[in-house]
């Protein structure tokens, strides 16, 4: 594994005159790791009851092993940290990392740097699945009903967009984005219809959460399924970094370099849909995270997935913890759905990217 992270950066290439300046990879990873730690600390510390950062770490260390920190805090504060704030921050990290990693993979799979789970309608598909389960009271698979339905919706949307955007073996950015946006619109309309006709104000409330994207009221029980899916997805993607890199070279080149492009893409579509489905089932549609962060990561460490994926996971985690912190505190005691914040920052970024690339 250590070998994986150092690959791709040659030392001693002779005469490399206009060498691109990049920070050492280990330094970038350490910096991003520190960023996650800082964001998490503030994410746990901030709220209606302010808890000093030192106390946050004291409580967490005490939890890990009682001998690590002497309790100087009230039990109420410990409950707030471990049962209210910590699960939310952990879920933020999982969702952020998952969206960022899935976005990176998706961009390689459709060979388009403007791809994003929400722009391609994948999140909308997951929402339809989730809302269907909610409205129809499906409890066939217990706690897994919701994520499973969201996964199926995500996969169906992704496959539909892919084939709509493709014609004659080519896929232009224009067609891809148009197919994605149109699919997302249709699926959002389906979600709205299901919610409006359900006649249940409580469900309308929770359905709204999926459409706007938010992490309010997170409990530990919500964390495990997406955490498992994101861990699994990231691990598998790290294993297929080389074939994923080949796709960046183009479909024919990838085939010539030994990749079974169609089978590989089908498998990874399923994997990405699994990550996004389980994420959307708990957090709703949080857009642009999977678009912006892969770009920032590529600027930092380059496009080689062996380097980009770990960095994308860390940066995604830190970003969404910070975004959720802002969503909770900017208009306190009111809470802004975090999806609104990411759209407000991500939308302009997307437009800037589009302008820059079409010049």
């Amino acid at each position: 594994m250590t070998d994986v992270t150092v690959g791709g950066s040659p030392a001693g290439v002779p005469g490399a005159a206009d060498r691109r300046r990049r920070l050492p990879y280990a330094l970038v990873l350490a910096g991003l790791g520190a960023l996650v730690a800082v964001a998490a600390t503030f994410g746990i510390a901030a709220g209606s009851v302010g808890i000093p950062a030192g106390e946050v770490w004291g409580i967490l260390l005490h939890r890990v092993h009682p001998a690590l920190a002497e309790p100087t805090w009230s039990p109420v504060r410990e409950t707030i940290v471990t049962d209210v704030r910590l699960p939310r921050v952990v879920l933020c990290a999982v969702v952020g990392a998952g969206l960022s990693v899935a976005g990176t993979a998706l961009q390689a799979l459709v060979r388009n740097p403007l791809a994003d789970p929400m722009l391609l309608g994948v999140s909308s598909g997951a929402s339809v699945g989730a809302v269907l389960v909610l409205v129809l009271h499906v409890t066939l698979f217990g706690a897994f009903s919701l994520p499973l339905a969201a996964f199926c919706g995500a996969l169906a949307a992704l496959v539909a967009v892919y084939f709509l955007a493709r014609s004659g073996g080519r896929m232009t950015t224009l067609r891809l984005v148009l197919a994605g946006v149109a699919t997302a619109e249709v699926l959002s309309a389906v979600t709205s219809f299901l919610v409006v006709t359900s006649n249940d104000p409580h469900k309308t409330q929770s359905a709204l959460r999926w459409m706007l994207g938010g992490l309010a009221g997170t409990t530990w029980t919500m964390v495990w399924i997406p955490a498992g899916a994101v861990l699994l997805g990231t691990a598998v993607l790290l294993g297929v970094c080389r074939p994923l890199n080949l796709l960046l070279a183009g479909e024919e080149a990838a085939a010539a370099l030994g990749l079974d492009v169609h089978r590989f893409r089908a498998a990874l579509f399923t994997l990405v849909a699994l990550m996004i489905g389980t994420i959307v089932a708990v957090s709703g549609q949080i857009g642009f995270v999977g678009l912006i962060l892969p770009h920032v990561v590529r600027l930092l460490v380059g496009a080689d997935h062996r380097r980009a994926l770990p960095a994308a996971a860390l940066l995604g985690a830190a970003f969404l913890i910070a975004a959720d912190l802002a969503a909770r505190t900017l208009m306190s005691p009111e809470e802004i759905p975090v999806g609104i914040l990411t759209a407000l920052t991500g939308g302009p970024f997307f437009l800037w990217l589009m302008r820059r690339r079409t010049r």
Partner: protein, 305 residues
């Protein structure tokens, strides 16, 4: 994946310890394979009812360089795509050393056969080094990093194609000719015994055209090269295979194939065929129709005064 790996292990140790840049391109690198026999056996390709390649058969012996020539739309690229597994033939087979390329794992084929494509990837800001290093992929297991041997092979390929100075430059921002050389370097880094090249000299200046084809010859690989420039084809290929509307219309040594009659029939041009003053290879000189006495610039000037 490991079962029946026929590549030679020779050179694995040397390449790992050789000074970067001095590895001889023809010499075996880690996982290098021997030149193979490529047998295109009655291949046809039909897309949407149009027959692009029509029952083409062509056998290339180990180390032989065959040029694929013909006018635009003759099916050269389509035929090559069936060889490097981008397009499945509608009928017929492509065999490498007797094994159907469409029935073996892609990774194994890629260790034995490298392709230089016309397609240019873009958009992702890969560096030149990263693009060339992709050539090592067929030789690697999923989690394996690039070892010293891989880096030596990649560096040698960069040096060979005169792009070592661009190693850390973004591939997207190179000129057409530089991109072409990088893609040839990637195929070189594959260390495959057989190569197919789809107009590798496109975008290249004169010197790099010659260098690229000389390199293919010097590697000693089995090669099929689609070429537009007939004079280059005549100078560097052992045999030429002329395609027209998907069919083989002529096949043989450059001297046998490149005749004024064939050029008139296939390309619809009037041409002289002369001998190259030093190599003796046939050289084609086109008659533009403006070359007749009195019709050139001089002739017109003379008429005006």
């Amino acid at each position: 994946m490991t079962a029946g790996r026929p590549e030679t292990e020779a050179g694995t140790t040397e390449a790992g310890t050789t000074e970067a840049g001095t590895t001889e391109p023809g010499a075996a690198g880690p996982g290098a394979t021997a030149p193979g026999t490529l047998d295109i056996d009655g291949v046809s390709v039909t897309v949407d009812g149009r027959t692009l390649v029509d029952r083409v058969s062509l056998t290339v012996s180990p180390g032989e360089v065959v040029g694929l020539v013909g006018p635009n739309g003759a099916g050269k690229s389509t035929l090559l795509r069936t060889v490097y597994r981008a397009l499945r033939p509608t009928s017929g087979r492509v065999l490498l050393d007797g094994a159907d390329v469409w029935r073996m794992p892609g990774k194994r084929l890629a260790r034995h056969l490298a392709a230089v494509l016309q397609e240019h990837a873009g958009d992702f800001e890969l560096t030149v080094y990263e693009v060339v290093a992709m050539g090592r992929t067929p030789h690697k297991r999923p989690f394996a990093g690039d070892d010293a041997g891989d880096r030596a092979v990649v560096t040698a390929a960069l040096t060979e194609l005169d792009v070592a100075g661009l190693a850390d430059a973004p591939f997207d921002r190179l000129s057409g000719g530089e991109k072409q050389r990088v893609l040839i370097a990637r195929a070189l880094a594959q260390r495959a015994g057989t190569m197919v090249l789809d107009e590798p000299t496109n975008h290249l200046d004169l010197r790099h055209q010659l260098d690229a084809l000389r390199l293919v010859r010097r590697l000693g690989v089995t090669a099929v090269v689609a070429l537009h420039d007939l004079n280059l084809a005549a100078s560097f290929c052992d045999r030429l295979c002329v395609l027209e509307t998907g069919r083989v219309v002529a096949h043989g040594t450059p001297r046998d194939v490149l005749t004024p009659a064939l050029l008139a029939e296939v390309y619809r041009v009037e041409a002289y065929v002369t001998e190259h003053p030093r190599s003796g290879a046939p050289q084609v000189t086109l008659l533009s129709g403006d070359d007749r006495p009195g019709r050139g610039r001089r002739g017109r000037e003379a008429a005006r005064t």
